[in-house]
Symmetry: C2
Subunit: 207 residues, 2 copies
């Protein structure tokens, strides 16, 4: 992995991309670090510093071209490519992910999904037919898939992560609130609504 640029700066590029997408869909052509900061609740200095790691995107006093910066950030994040993703866990959450239109539209398409429940195996959800977990390794290797989403119940998350890594997956988005141990060349990101809710209730006083 490239570690020359701080990961914290990389982690904010998708947020800048989201803000740029909103501006672009509103027909806005030029923006500034100040405006982006206002949208994101960040600071203009932070945004300029983050972007400076990746190149020169704006001219002093004229701001950023929304479409250009959007395109450049997508290129930097490799989000201008189409990525195949495997999903493990076809329960309520897996079902929601398989119906998430926005993922495929933005280049991250779930091309295979697995579950250990015989009642689910063979059924179709969205565009995908659920396969038995035992098919995971072959499917990942044959397709050369490097991105996976874990949407299994917490007790199974570590075993599934191990299987994914063994099969060659290099990046895991983990929906289970379980810490995963993976080799250094594998990335894990966690997503959990409770983390966001806790952040917000800090600002809410008890009554």
């Amino acid at each position: 992995m490239t570690r020359d640029i701080p990961d914290i700066a990389v982690s904010r590029l998708p947020l800048y991309l989201r803000a740029l997408g909103h501006l672009e869909s509103n027909g806005q052509q030029i923006t500034s670090s100040k405006e982006l900061a206002a949208i994101l609740g960040s600071s203009a200095a932070q945004i300029r510093k983050d972007l400076s790691h990746f190149g020169e995107f704006g001219k002093q006093g004229t701001g950023y071209h929304v479409a250009h910066l959007n395109r450049q950030l997508r290129r930097i994040l490799h989000a201008d490519l189409v990525w195949d993703v495997v999903l493990v866990g076809a329960g309520h959450l897996g079902n929601a992910l398989l119906h998430n239109q926005g993922m495929a539209r933005r280049g991250y398409r779930i091309v295979a999904a697995f579950d250990h429940d015989p009642e689910k195996v063979g059924t179709r959800i969205g565009n995908v037919i659920i396969q038995n977990n035992q098919r995971m390794r072959d499917e990942i290797q044959q397709r050369g898939i490097r991105l996976a989403i874990i949407a299994v119940p917490p007790p199974s998350a570590r075993r599934v992560a191990h299987q994914l890594v063994e099969a060659g997956v290099k990046a895991i988005l983990n929906y289970s609130p379980i810490a995963l141990s993976v080799p250094d060349d594998v990335m894990v990101q966690y997503t959990d609504p409770v983390t966001h809710l806790q952040h917000m209730t800090y600002y809410l006083q008890d009554r």
Copy 2:
């Protein structure tokens, strides 16, 4: 809102809480900023600095008591309380959230859910009966609910956010990839799998 402490420091407390929860469930009693940094991919200095905003939690050379720090951070985030949450949107994603056991267990319980689809209104999902969107305002005001989750399709997100704010909601977790405009005393957090996937594909080379 309290803005004396940087929001970026607040935003990391839930992550520290998650790491502490893992250590506690493994039976570990003492930890260090170095160990937490290794779990979270952060730096020990960052963790010590973040925590210093909120008090003195460890003694030089002896580290942190896991259970104590866990309890203190939960208290700071008001995550030691039980919070009522409303959900708007009972589609695939709303269904998954209503089945998410971890939320209620950690103090964030969805007590009311709304949808505009007559086929869904009146049905039970998990412990909640789906109500018509028109009931939203009364229900929020009668129960004094301040936390909401938006899980509606993108075209409806802004209208729903407006209704929630009008009804008195002060914090919104938004699953739709749509920027919401809210008054200064209302917080919005965004959650989107694509943001995480983009962060990770930065590190994956095209082949």
